[in-house]
Symmetry: C2
Subunit: 119 residues, 2 copies
């Protein structure tokens, strides 16, 4: 089964804001077995729906959403489940799962702590 | 010279939002040679001023601010320099530097990409 990865970030009206996320996208694409796309909650394109559509067009039969958020606020607890419910209503056969937000991942926390400590 | 590290995060009205940052704080404290504090831009305590004050009280003679932000928007380009200017006006002898925001650090980007790709 081809699993697509949807990197999901907040978005900003500042066009330069997306650069780190585009860099993470290209680095993830270089490592993932299946298609990878980047989508934004607000203010930037592509949006969640467009991200899902592009992954399906690239052959994804299931999708893993990776929230590029440091903490789980209302965006991840309310907005994202609603977006996923809409996507499932359109594509009932598509399995969509949500990974732990990056900031809540132990391995990412360790990486941030090492960077902050200057190690 | 004792260098204090100030982890600087956005903040949220949701009290649970700060948990990943508190975890990063304790992991950074376990690795850093000097004192480490966590401060928030808005909606949470301690604020930037309180964070600086606690690091100085802990013996910091210089401070490295590590922005726990994934990208540099107006918070890092406008709000943070203003907070630093205020702190320097109060403590002209205190050297305060700003690290690259975590999301713009190559090593953190690599860690996020590995996590996202499921490697």
């Amino acid at each position: 089964m081809t699993i697509g990865i949807l990197l999901f970030a907040h978005g900003s009206r500042d066009p330069n804001w997306k650069r780190p996320f585009e860099s993470i996208l290209s680095q993830t694409q270089a490592q993932a077995a299946g298609p990878v796309a980047l989508a934004f909650l607000e203010s930037m394109q592509p949006d969640f729906h467009e991200g899902i559509t592009s992954l399906v067009a690239s052959g994804a039969q299931a999708i893993r959403v990776v929230p590029l958020f440091l903490a789980s606020g209302s965006h991840l607890r309310a907005d994202l489940p609603e977006l996923i419910a809409q996507a499932k209503a359109e594509r009932p056969d598509l399995d969509i799962s949500i990974a732990t937000a990056i900031g809540e991942s132990q391995v990412i926390q360790e990486s941030i702590a090492r960077y902050a400590a200057g190690c």
